[in-house]
């Protein structure tokens, strides 16, 4: 068996995801349910194994319970290995220096010894909040061919949205001459996807330097990348074409779920060549008796009501006369008889009482707007009583 790994992936999964409000009250963002049977972290983990990367460190910090339980020994992704595999890396107590992960770069810095165990030549840095299918091996090949010290995956975004992203300004050969974090007046429409490949020795060097700099925020985008660029290291862009979505907000999470619908969806999950692996639940097939149109339904469902343009997670019950429209049910939710759910995201283990009304039809809800763009959000474990009402755009994380 090989005693070293060419490339080790480090997955940043410690963020709180505060813009998901009630959905991340008790769980880390990468553990948020997505697409009826998945969790967000399934996508980067599946991409790793589908790209031939079998050693992944998952850096957790915020509310790691569900995430740790879910990742387990990595078996669902074939990442249970005698050498390598998936490892949960939490902040730990050291002899001299003990701290929480202070920033993305600090999180990686604190785990240098983990990476060094595998004597890697390259380190792949990933985020735990993106929905996409990508062959990291192609990116690694590009990194090797260009002899870069750091390669950043990027994609074209509409120029008017570019100021929301880290923007790469590149030369015609793809090398990066400038890196701007959320610029007011972007010069380019190439947005960083938060996916980096570093030549390991360079990464370790700049992490050490960064750690000694008291003024640093210990962040990849703000500190490591600009420092490397200023020091004259070779930084290259890698163009990704395909579906990629940051699901860091309620509305983007809703949109990404809707992108799965349709016979020819924006993002195809049913792909035998690049299977998205997940800890598939032990439920029987979904029982359908009602009306289900343009929707996804995971196993264990008991659907006797009406479901339109929705994503229905594992073990959901939708009783007779209930309606779920333009909504996302993350799983184990009961929608009782006569209840109406419109333009909502409902977290796991929710009970919606008889004739309760959640959210409003999409065109009305959009007028309400607000921080969720009109989407009603019910947090994990919420009970809505009979005839209860949750208006459009409300975020609820206790019983109503």
């Amino acid at each position: 068996m090989l005693k070293k790994k060419e490339c080790v992936a480090m997955l940043l999964a410690g963020g709180q995801g505060s813009r998901l409000y009630a959905l991340t009250s008790n769980i880390a963002k990468p553990a948020v349910a997505f697409g009826a049977k998945y969790r967000i972290i399934d996508f980067p983990l599946s991409n790793c194994i589908n790209s031939g990367i079998d050693t992944v460190g998952v850096l957790t910090q915020y509310q790691p319970l569900v995430l740790n339980e879910y990742v387990g020994n990595g078996q669902p992704w074939d990442l249970d290995r005698t050498f390598g595999g998936v490892h949960i890396l939490s902040p730990y107590e050291a002899k001299t220096d003990t701290s929480w992960y202070k920033g993305t770069a600090n999180a990686i810095y604190q785990n240098i010894r983990f990476m060094q165990m595998y004597e890697p030549e390259y380190i792949l840095i990933l985020s735990g909040d993106h929905i996409y299918k990508m062959d990291y091996d192609k990116m690694l090949t590009a990194h090797k061919q260009s002899k870069a010290d750091c390669t950043i995956a990027c994609m074209q975004v509409p120029l008017k949205e570019a100021s929301r992203f880290g923007i790469l300004n590149t030369n015609p050969d793809g090398t990066i001459y400038e890196f701007e974090e959320k610029p007011a007046n972007p010069k380019s429409d190439l947005a960083s996807m938060g996916i980096y490949i570093f030549t390991a020795s360079k990464l370790f060097k700049y992490l050490e330097l960064d750690n000694k700099d008291p003024n640093s925020e210990n962040d990849f985008g703000k500190n490591i990348l600009p420092t490397m660029l200023n020091a004259g290291e070779k930084m290259c862009s890698y163009r990704f074409e395909g579906y990629w979505k940051d699901v860091g907000t309620i509305s983007s999470l809703w949109e990404a779920n809707m992108d799965l619908l349709g016979v020819v969806p924006n993002f195809e999950l049913d792909d035998r060549n690049r299977v998205i692996h997940s800890k598939s639940p032990l439920a029987p097939p979904a029982y359908i008796q009602g009306e289900v149109l343009n929707s996804l339904v995971a196993t264990g469902g008991e659907i006797e009501g009406r479901v339109v343009n929705s994503v229905i997670g594992t073990d959901c019950v939708i009783e007779k006369g209930a309606e779920v429209i333009d909504s996302v049910l993350m799983g184990k939710t009961v929608v009782k008889a006569g209840a109406k759910v419109n333009y909502s995201i409902i977290d796991e283990d929710v009970v919606i009482g008889e004739k309760a009304v959640i959210g409003a039809p999409i065109n009305e809800a959009l007028k309400v707007g607000g921080k969720t763009a009109g989407i009603a959000v019910l947090g994990r474990g919420v009970n809505v009583k009979k005839n209860g009402v949750v208006p459009a755009g409300e975020i609820v994380d206790k019983n109503v």
């Binding site: 697409g35 009826a36 049977k37 078996q75 669902p76 619908l261 349709g262 016979v263 999950l269 049913d270 792909d271 299977v275 998205i276 692996h277 997940s278 598939s280 639940p281 032990l282 439920a283 029987p284 097939p285 979904a286 029982y287 359908i288 008796q289 009306e291 289900v292 149109l293 343009n294 929707s295 996804l296 339904v297 995971a298 196993t299 264990g300 008991e302 479901v307 994503v311 229905i312 073990d315």
Partner: protein
């Protein structure tokens, strides 16, 4: 519970349903949308606290091995015990086993190595929930030599079956093999409990006397010499005794009560294959059906069991059908009372129909 080892026969009663067992063992006959029939006996064992299970195979067991793998989906991938495949034993003097007794003979070495005090023997052609540890408690309480599990239902025609009468205290009085069909009887469900040492002694005895049949040569005459007790299985039980019975069992799972009884605890384990969630198009119309992951439905589906990865084309009407994994049903097809084995393709506009007692069967990987 008392330390117990499980033994599952994976290829008994295959004659009952040659259509589906031509290419696979009985145990790996697909059922209920995402399961193989062996999952029920195997999950029952795991849920009874049994952590060592020997699985007796015969021929064509590739599909079964593919399904079971290392046993990890049943939590039976273990250093100590776990799932152990017992391939058929044959040499110059002995050919492939022909009956239950010869099959068990092949498992002698496995049983001798086990330290467990009790053994549960079970077939893999049935759908039921049973905590075998309760059978063992009963077995100990009755000081029995053998405990045979029965279910009371009308005797149906199949290749080979056994019923018995019991005394008030549960002791088996008389065993009948292939009695007249039609009446409600105590049907032996081919689940038996005994001490491991007792079973080993029976096997030894059978070899010496040249016995051929477990039922005729051991159990039937044994009612007077051994303490044989009957344990009643309440609740749902069905075994695949014919293609039409197979049809019926699948449709039983559309019944909410039965579905809850079998799957309510979410403890029937099976191989996981990471299909994407089922997708319904805006032209879909689905009534009273079980729809598995990976399906794409653009047509009308009524009273059906769709296994994983089935595609139903636009305008197609599928009623009272069992469509196994990865079938592609073309546009405007009309299918009634069809059982279609895995990976078949039905081209656009085809009309195929069977009837309730004689479903139309489409073999594995057929193009129509």
């Amino acid at each position: 519970m008392a330390s117990t080892v499980g033994v599952i026969y994976s290829s008994m009663n295959e004659e009952n349903i040659p259509e589906l067992t031509r290419v696979r063992s009985m145990g790996s006959v697909p059922i209920g949308g995402r399961y193989r029939v062996v999952d029920f006996a195997l999950s029952n064992m795991v849920n009874s606290g049994i952590t060592t299970v020997g699985l007796i195979t015969k021929s064509n067991y590739q599909s079964l091995m593919d399904h079971l793998g290392t046993g990890k989906y049943w939590d039976l991938a273990r250093k100590d015990g776990g799932l152990i495949l017992l391939p058929p034993y044959s040499d110059e003097t002995e050919t492939l086993y022909k009956n239950r007794l010869e099959a068990l003979k092949g498992a002698t070495a496995f049983l001798k190595k086990c330290n467990e005090d009790f053994v549960v023997l079970a077939d893999s052609d049935s759908v039921y929930k049973l905590d075998y540890s309760k059978v063992i408690d009963y077995h100990i309480e009755k000081n029995a030599d053998i405990t045979m599990v029965y279910h009371e239902h009308e005797v149906v025609k199949s290749h080979y079956y056994m019923t018995f009468e019991t005394a008030k205290d549960g002791r088996v009085k008389e065993i009948q093999i292939n009695p007249a069909v039609g009446s409600v009887k105590k049907n032996y469900i081919n689940v038996m409990v005994a001490r491991t040492s007792f079973i080993l002694r029976l096997i030894q005895d059978a070899i010496q006397h040249g016995y051929k049949s477990f039922g005729r040569d051991i159990l039937s005459p044994g009612v007077s010499t051994y303490n044989i007790y009957g344990y009643k299985l309440d609740g749902y039980f069905a075994s695949i005794s014919s293609l039409s019975k197979y049809f019926e069992i699948n449709f039983d799972l559309l019944n909410k009560e039965i579905r809850n009884e079998i799957f309510g605890n979410r403890d029937v384990y099976t191989k996981v294959n990471d299909s994407s969630p089922a997708k319904f198009a805006d032209t879909a119309c689905v009534k009273n059906s079980l729809i598995s992951d990976g399906c794409l439905i653009e047509g009308t589906v009524e009273n059906c069991i769709l296994f994983r990865g089935v595609k139903i084309g636009r305008g197609a009407v599928i009623k009272n059908c069992i469509i196994m994994a990865d079938n592609i049903i073309g546009e405007n097809c009309n299918l009634q009372y069809v059982v279609s084995d895995k990976n078949s393709v039905i081209r656009d506009n085809r009309v195929l129909a069977g009837c309730e007692i004689q479903p139309y069967f489409i073999g594995k990987g057929v193009l129509i």
